[in-house]
Point group: C2
Chain length 222, copies 2
Amino acid sequence: MRIALLGGTGEIGEGLALRWAYHTNHDVVIGSRDPEKAREKADEYETELASRGREVKVNGFTNEMAADRARVVVLAVPPYHVADTIDAVADGLDDDDILVTPAAGIKREDDGFHYHPPKAGSVTQLVDDAAPENVPVVGAFHNLAAGRLADLDAELDIDTLLVADDYDAKDIVARLAEDIDGLRALDAGGVANAAEVESVTPLLINVAQNNEGMHDLGVQFR
Amino acid sequence: MRIALLGGTGEIGEGLALRWAYHTNHDVVIGSRDPEKAREKADEYETELASRGREVKVNGFTNEMAADRARVVVLAVPPYHVADTIDAVADGLDDDDILVTPAAGIKREDDGFHYHPPKAGSVTQLVDDAAPENVPVVGAFHNLAAGRLADLDAELDIDTLLVADDYDAKDIVARLAEDIDGLRALDAGGVANAAEVESVTPLLINVAQNNEGMHDLGVQFR
């Protein structure tokens, strides 16, 4: 399956790109507002993968071109760029495609990191509202530490939580998630349940900051 | 150490009472608005513990008497009874005591369970606001499934997150938590970080409801 990572030059995009390209045969394409940057990063990822004996092609395009070419489109951009990015790529999306949103609204305050959702109630809801009609939206990959994800030597052995109102789309993204070694996909229900999922992201940072020896945390339900 | 479980006749109170009485030498007292009910439940816990070869005394009192006798006072009551309960027991608390709050504001809606904090921002903050001055408040034990906690045959192997502004009080409660087999205490920062901790409670229910074979879930940070 072809997966586009919009904002694929950023940390979470890099991690997902490397993991899918390394562990699976899915075709990964990197999107960016700046296609030169997308190509440069795609080359970097190819070099990193080749150094581990994995010779695969990673292409870099504008976000529009990347989204147009892919079945699954991951919005690996900051929450405040989500709506703009959807607008920019909407023409290239059809009802066979799936939009995936891993962003969580987080605010750093003096006393810790706090969940700070957009007015829609969650970033996933914002994406669902902004997505073209008939294009299903899946919230996933919120609770993955970017640095750990991008380090192919780091074991995951953690869960990712999925929220979506379209069951088939959620199932496809669950399989893509579980194609990554050490990642288990769990269903957290519909888009209405996204806020509780996204709230885990600032919590992970708070726990890492307050406990010696803990960093780049993930979570496992048990 | 003597620990009072106010609302200790309810599910989460029962679980904590049994675990502390079974795994540790702490002196557990059960509080309830109805002292007869407290005594009955305390007798039940004694019988359950004796059936497992653990002969210990568990006393039952009014909430006021239980709080007055204990160093650590756990508010194992529903969120809407928290403020009333503190008012009722305030005279028996002094600055050597610690108030512990495990409650989370949860609302069951058609599409799932959602975090529904009081106006204070979190139940922990509400308790902190309502507690007598100089009595430190620790948020803990939010993310424990009551049924699993109360079943001494069930392994835990999960984490509990602590929030408090008083470092010494947090440390004492962390030790009490870790005295329970299979429970690891993690520091999630100050009371300002409580909402993200309490939000995990509805999330655990949503995950259990949407994944076959999962129930009474806990969480482990890794």
